[in-house]
């Protein structure tokens, strides 16, 4: 088997959050929270087969959508600074195809009563070309959801 040439790209998404860093950090650390906000649309169900949010730990996640192939992601944590920073690497597959891998840096900074969230995605498209636009669409939707989750958690809804 040969490998297609790898193509690399990166982009950064920034969001203002209406809750302090501890609430935003918890949204990433807690798989139950992540199941809610990381689905890019209501049709997509995020299923955690394993969750291990600690340095050196890995999550195994499936992204399930009716009439669509299942995407599987393995997410491994390389750096965790509580309430401030998370860096993880993930690989995403569909059946035997390794679609992409990404290094994702999450930075949380206190800003007034709330916080600023900066997510930098450095990715490489592997067996499928042009995964950058999929990543951008998926993560833009997920971070919009996260803003809503944090608003509700910050207001006591899910805190």
């Amino acid at each position: 088997m040969s490998a297609a040439p790898a193509s690399h790209e990166s982009f950064t998404l920034t969001r203002q959050m209406a809750a302090p860093p501890a609430v935003v950090f918890r949204a990433w650390a807690d798989p139950a929270a992540r199941t809610v906000w990381s689905a890019p649309s209501a049709a997509v169900e995020i299923v955690y087969d394993a969750a291990d949010f600690r340095l050196g730990g890995c999550d195994v996640v499936r992204c399930v959508e009716p009439d669509m192939p299942v995407f599987a992601a393995e997410v491994c944590y390389h750096d965790i600074v509580e309430d401030r920073r998370i860096i993880f690497a993930e690989s995403v597959s569909r059946g035997d195809e390794r679609m992409a891998a990404a290094l994702i840096s999450v930075e949380i900074v206190a800003e007034g009563e709330g916080s600023t969230l900066t997510v930098t995605l450095q990715l490489v498209s592997l067996d499928i070309e042009g995964m950058g636009s999929n990543y951008r669409l998926g993560w833009t939707a997920a971070l919009d959801n996260l803003q809503i989750w944090v608003n509700e958690a910050g207001a006591g809804g899910r805190a």
Partner: protein, 157 residues
């Protein structure tokens, strides 16, 4: 340093070796060979090294840097296509402090009688302890050591 800051960046290095993709790939997949060119660097003294070469496997290297601080390198292998591609991510620490996290893609392509290796790294360099240019220089030097290892194994040096 109390400020948390990340510098993101990447680079890609191309090298041609006068050996087949099978021979070049074996220098990455065989723990004894990988140890010789990747980990066994004189100025770092004794190195603790282990490689479990499979998807989901780990590679670890640690030792004492010339300035007396302990360095560690912890790697997770994400993808293997034998003789063609490797994808891994790794975290480095120095003196107990994380200095970088990187995602690396290595491709092996037959090029005439030899192999073109493309080593591409995307990195998050932490709190000013390391940078893109330094890492690129280190990786280029490492690929030079790979070339010497291939010559040594083939008996042509």
């Amino acid at each position: 340093m109390s400020e948390r800051k990340i510098i993101h960046g990447g680079f890609s290095i191309d090298r041609c070796f006068d050996f087949t993709p099978q021979a070049v790939f074996a220098a990455w997949s065989d723990p004894a060979a990988k140890y010789r060119w990747f980990a066994n660097v004189d100025r770092f003294g004794e190195i603790d090294y282990a490689l479990d070469f499979r998807v989901g496997g780990h590679e670890t290297a640690s030792g004492i840097a010339p300035d007396g601080r302990r360095f560690t390198n912890d790697t997770r292998i994400h993808d293997i296509i034998v003789n063609a591609r490797l994808v891994f991510s790794y975290r480095m620490t120095l003196g107990g402090v994380p200095i970088s996290v990187s995602l690396t893609t290595v491709t092996f392509e037959a090029d005439g009688a030899g192999t073109r290796v493309t080593y591409a790294e995307q990195g998050a360099f932490l709190d000013g302890y390391d940078g893109v240019a330094e890492r690129e220089g280190g990786c280029a030097w490492m690929l030079g050591r790979l070339g010497k290892e291939l010559l040594r194994v083939s008996g042509s040096s």
